[in-house]
Subunit: 148 residues, 2 copies
């Protein structure tokens, strides 16, 4: 079985700590991804990301390493193409900036939403960057409407 | 040998013709990707994309199907990670919009620039969308500085 993977890198002018917090504090997740974020960011806990009243994905928090790594696994609740895929955020310190790698892996070859989600992840990473650097992101429903 | 692929989808509120022109007219390419674009967009012809005085990539135009498909192959001139990779733009008509798929394929597994370029392609597709929809893109050196 071959899988596809989305893999983006973005640089954020802030500390690894602030980036880690934006990825692990439910209120902060709601500040850059979707305003309707629910659940608990603890290992084994579940997070829900709702878009306009639809549950896009429920994630189990698989791994948390302070200021360095966040890893989620998508459960059977939510968009079919995302089920059993994995999302990781790898945080590292660069020169005067923080380097963030998003990897959304284990996409099945036939998953039709792959290219659209690849584009959307980039847009939400730009939102995350703005949230961390300037205190204000563009979470859904305030996100850039590229696919309407 | 396993290869990686960047694959983004974006929707553009315009005609397939306008999107095709933005991908095949050298002056229009300079309006959304990099202001210093040179060469000839004919099958077998070569295009050069310069960023701040550096040749990022020289492409051979491998295929052109009017209003539908553009395919380039990167030559040995330019960034090492891009050599022999392939780029395709697939254009199709949606409801009241044009659907564009960018695929940048045949990346070697060890190519370190992959995640950074994945992010940059998304940013330049947003620039292309603005260029086609509103007549003004954000080509380099006017692009969003996400990786500095």
């Amino acid at each position: 079985m071959t899988y596809r993977e989305i893999w983006h890198e973005i640089h954020i002018h802030s500390t690894p700590r602030k980036v880690y917090q934006a990825l692990t504090d439910v209120e902060k997740l709601a500040g850059w991804w979707t305003t309707d974020t629910r659940g608990e960011s603890t290992v084994g806990g579940k997070l829900e990301f709702w878009f306009s009243g639809h549950l896009a994905a429920e994630m189990v928090v698989a791994e948390l390493t302070t200021d360095s790594l966040v890893r989620w696994r998508v459960t059977e609740r939510g968009i079919a193409d995302w089920i059993d895929t994995e999302i990781s955020f790898d945080i590292s310190r660069g020169r005067k900036k923080t380097i963030l790698h998003l990897r959304h892996s284990k996409w099945r070859e036939e998953a039709a939403m792959f290219p659209e989600c690849s584009m959307h992840w980039a847009i939400f990473l730009l939102s995350l960057k703005e949230f961390v650097e300037m205190g204000r992101g563009r979470p859904h429903p305030y996100d850039m409407p590229v696919n309407i």
